[in-house]
């Protein structure tokens, strides 16, 4: 019974701490806002990343056009750093 209890606690802890992550994120290191064009699941959206902001987007793969016109493909777990208008995948 005691082991069962331990299991339940551990599983609960796992579920509580889990649940997040699994998305790509974009960090804007510049002092001005930048716009990313994101194509995900057949629809295109413009994503504005404010200065110094970090946003999460693109859960399952998407195409991204960087502020400087570079294109990238994200599989859904990367981090993009934007500095000087250039985007770079980490």
């Amino acid at each position: 019974m005691k082991t069962m209890k331990k299991f339940v606690y551990a599983a609960a802890a796992l579920l509580v701490t889990g649940g997040a992550a699994f998305a790509a994120s974009a960090v804007n290191l510049d002092s001005e806002a930048h716009t990313l064009v994101v194509t995900e699941g057949g629809s295109q959206t413009e994503l504005v990343v404010g200065a110094g902001e970090t946003i999460e987007f693109c859960a399952a793969g998407c195409f991204v056009t960087m502020p400087n016109g570079d294109r990238e493909v994200l599989s859904g777990s990367e981090t993009i750093e934007i500095s000087g208008g250039k985007g770079r995948v980490r």
């Binding site: 551990a10 990238e72 493909v73 770079r88």
Partner: protein, 823 residues
């Protein structure tokens, strides 16, 4: 200047490398680009081909699903192809950064190679970007087509159900003639195929049948052997338990059905494998087999639930006669639906007239409708007086409503809808009934004690070390597993009935296995399940390692049991933490998220969890420092007893009265703890004894020392000592001090020594005194000495008391004495 000189060689080197490297790189990139371009255009062509195919196949649902699956695959390919650009792109970006910004006007011009290289890299990047842009457009296109397919399939489904046929042509008398004519054609075709096969391909035919039979027999006998008690229950059993009735119903339905189903499916597959099936025979055979499986399944299920010949095994509380009727009606309904399905296939193979299809379906659906209403009209239940009673009102109306709906739809010409409805009633009804039995079985197994008393558990108990509690928990788990299995098998089967395709279901399961997004939160069920499985495995590995370390390694090294316990506990916690961490990372959870949790926790620790954490840390210190270990006799404050278990929060101490005291670890760390058995169990014990004044104290000393020395459990070194402790009120006090090798045996030793003392003193005539007070009575010349005698009150008292009984006199005297002697 010096700096410039030093950087010059490096710079030259870079230029050199660029000049040589760029040539090779350019060629390499060109071929890579060419490959990707070709791949993308290939995918684009396939997409275009599929698009035109959709136009042709817009009426075939299965074909549309196949196209969608193919499109999804192509979508993934496009994605992977674009992902392949990333290393190249980042390489280009790095090199561009190394080259730096182009020189502005007024600055010294840069070497020509650098300019050329930069241009080349920018060109390359531009062509990459163009290709990725193409891929992006292609992926959007694929997604659009997939949505289009979904739209088409929805339309198709509605059209099938809502199409209205003209049934006036179907009810003419010619139809019967045509029907017999078609049957004749089927007969000719089948007999032609059969005679050809028997004549020329007998060997493969026999082989195929034999192989299928072997497989089916293996399944049948294997299943029977395992679940024999369920498939053919013991008829003599008068009062089967609810669980065994349910399990019998479930297994006696599933095992024979699955065996025969396997036989038919395998026969078909083997016949197909040996090329024995002609293109017209194959669909006929397939639909015949599926109809047989369906009818057989419905028969087994109805028989299992109704058990017309065995009232005590019946799951539904209906009368025996009604059970017989219901069984027949259910089977006939299944046969009618199956017949309709089979004939539809026949007509499509023979390309018969539409009127024939309409006529057959009309008859079949009307029959099914009537049968369903007949089931509703049966009086299966018993009222209080034992007379037949009808179904509950709602259920009866439901059956009547469905039956009427089927008949009306068919008569109005909505044959597609009527067929859909009747098929749903038979097949979905059968599946749901089976699932329901499965759920009930799971519930019955989960209920307390049910599993522990089943035959399976009894068998387990005989061969394994499970006790009743473990078996009960096992029952809980198996109940849950049965539920999951029922859902996993039943739900897809029902969805397949409702017009979903197998490919739909696999696509869904892929999606479920992938990420699920709810708002900004996204997670993958598969990941979490993997994490939990990894954790459970890690947990058991830890347990095993713990057991192995404790039982094999540490037991052999003759380690102290306390140390063993400490190490065991420590290893257990470390293993648990490691298993947790591995599980968390296997679940794909970013551990940096835990930092947030830790931050929040530290605030909580500051306030609320202070005590818990302090106890926890104290527990770790106890395990490491080991001021006491399990089995020690300790005294902590008011608690004295044996340490049973040192846990991370609290320590369990058992007093000698067998009371368990749970002492928080921090108290054991912060306050003084006495340990009688810290390094060893050696300890001193004292026995006090007093002898009367006037005894021969030297003789007493001698006797006591002799007794102490002669006790077998008293240590010779340090040797026993007898202390002449003092002059007491009524005795001369002695104290025997002896050392014992095991302080825990002191009670026994105390008893032995005390008995010996009493015996020896008796023999020597030495008295052991008890507190006593001597009373000296003085009498005779009290009166003349009393100065206050003339006072009235006192005299009266005396005068009254003197003649009284001697007891009263004593009281007065004592009072007097108290007056004179304040002692």
């Amino acid at each position: 200047m010096l700096l410039k000189l030093r950087t010059l060689p490096a710079f030259l080197c870079l230029v050199f490398l660029l000049a040589f490297g760029s040539l090779a790189a350019a060629q390499d990139t060109e071929s890579f680009l060419e490959g990707q371009r070709e791949m993308l255009s290939g995918i684009e062509n396939s997409v275009a081909g599929l698009e035109t195919e959709i136009g042709h196949q817009s009426t075939d649902d299965a074909e549309l699903v196949d196209i969608r699956v193919e499109l999804e695959r192509l979508g993934r390919e496009v994605f992977d192809a674009s992902l392949a650009f990333r290393p190249r792109l980042s390489e280009i970006n790095t090199r561009l950064e190394q080259l730096g910004e182009p020189r502005k006007e007024g600055e010294p011009p840069e070497p020509e190679e650098v300019t050329r290289e930069r241009t080349r890299l920018l060109d390359e990047k531009a062509s990459f970007n163009v290709l990725i842009g193409d891929a992006e457009r292609l992926s959007v296109r694929i997604k659009t087509v997939i949505e289009e397919i979904a739209e088409l399939r929805r339309d198709l489904f509605t059209r099938t159900l809502s199409r209205r046929y003209d049934i006036s042509a179907a009810v003419s008398t010619d139809v019967l003639g045509e029907f017999t004519q078609e049957l004749g054609r089927v007969y000719t075709r089948v007999s032609a195929w059969l005679s050809f096969t028997v004549k020329y391909r007998l060997k493969p035919l026999l082989l195929a049948t034999a192989l299928a039979s072997i497989a089916a027999l293996a399944l049948l006998f294997g299943g029977r052997r395992l679940f024999d008690d369920f498939v053919e229950p013991d008829r003599s059993e008068q009062n089967p338990t609810y669980l065994s009735r349910l399990a019998t119903a479930l297994f006696s339905t599933l095992i024979p059905s699955v065996s025969y189903g396997t036989f038919l499916v395998l026969s078909y597959l083997f016949l197909d494998y040996f090329n024995l099936l002609r293109s017209d025979i194959a669909p006929l055979l397939w639909s015949l087999f599926s109809v047989i499986i369906l009818v057989y399944f419905v028969y087994r299920l109805a028989r299992a639930i109704l058990a017309p010949r065995r009232p005590n095994w019946r799951l539904l509380p209906v009368r025996s006669q009604a059970a017989q009727w219901l069984l027949v009606l259910a089977v006939v309904t299944a046969v009618a639906t199956g017949f309709d399905h089979f004939m539809d296939q026949v007509y499509s193979v023979l390309s018969s007239q539409l009127s024939l299809t309409v006529a057959t379906s009309l008859v079949a659906t009307v029959v099914v409708g009537l049968l369903i209403m007949a089931i509703g009209a049966v009086r299966p239940l018993e009222d209080e007086e034992g007379k037949p009673r009808q179904w509950p009102l709602k259920f009866r109306y439901l059956l009547f409503f469905i039956g009427a709906a089927i008949i009306i739809a068919a008569l109005l010409g909505y044959i597609g809808f009527a067929r859909f409805l009747s098929q749903q009633v038979v097949v979905t009804g059968a599946i749901i009934a089976t699932m329901y039995i499965g759920f009930l079985t799971a519930g019955a197994i989960t209920s307390e004690g049910a599993f522990a008393h089943s035959w399976f558990a009894r068998r387990l108990e005989r061969h394994t070390a499970f006790d009743e509690t473990a078996l009960d928990q096992l029952g809980l788990i198996s109940g849950m597993i049965i539920n999951v299995i029922v859902v996993l098998i039943g739900v897809p089967l029902i969805l397949l009935q409702w017009g979903f395709r197998w490919a739909d279901l696999t696509a869904w399961s892929y999606r479920i296995a992938g990420n699920i997004q709810i708002g900004s939160l996204s997670f993958s069920i598969m990941g979490i399940v993997t994490g939990i499985v990894v954790f459970v495995v890690g947990y058991f590995v830890t347990r095993w390692f713990q057991g192995w370390l404790d039982g094999k390694v540490m037991a052999r090294s003759r380690m102290d049991s306390g140390v063993r316990n400490s190490i065991r506990t420590g290893v257990g916690y470390v293993g648990l933490v490691i298993a947790g961490l591995i599980g968390v990372s296997a679940a794909g959870i970013n551990l940096s998220n835990l930092a947030l949790v830790a931050g929040a926790l530290s605030l909580g620790i500051g306030f609320g969890l202070q005590n818990i954490v302090s106890n926890f840390v104290s527990g770790l210190i106890l395990l490491a420092e080991r001021p006491f270990k399990a089995g020690d006799w300790i005294v902590a404050g008011a608690v004295s007893g044996t340490v049973k278990k040192i846990s991370v929060r609290a320590t369990e101490i058992e007093t000698f009265q067998r009371q368990s005291v749970i002492l928080p670890n921090s108290e054991l760390i912060n306050a003084a703890v006495g340990n009688w058995t810290h390094r060893n169990k050696l300890g001193r014990m004292e026995i006090a004894v007093g002898v009367a004044y006037g005894s021969d104290v030297r003789r007493v000393h001698e006797i006591l020392l002799e007794i102490a020395k002669s006790h077998p459990m008293v240590l010779k070194n340090p040797e026993p000592f007898v202390l002449f402790a003092g002059f007491g009120d009524s005795s001369l006090d002695f104290e025997i001090r002896v050392y014992l090798s095991d302080i825990l045996t002191q009670l026994e030793v105390q008893n032995g020594i005390r008995f010996a003392i009493v015996d020896a003193f008796e023999a020597e005539g030495i008295e052991i005194p008890f507190p006593q007070r001597d009373i000296h009575v003085r009498s005779g010349f009290l009166k003349p000495e009393e100065p206050e005698l003339p006072e009235d009150g006192e005299t009266d008292d005396l005068e009254e008391e003197t003649p009284a009984e001697p007891g009263a006199e004593k009281v007065v005297r004592r009072r007097r004495r108290r007056k004179t002697d304040p002692e």
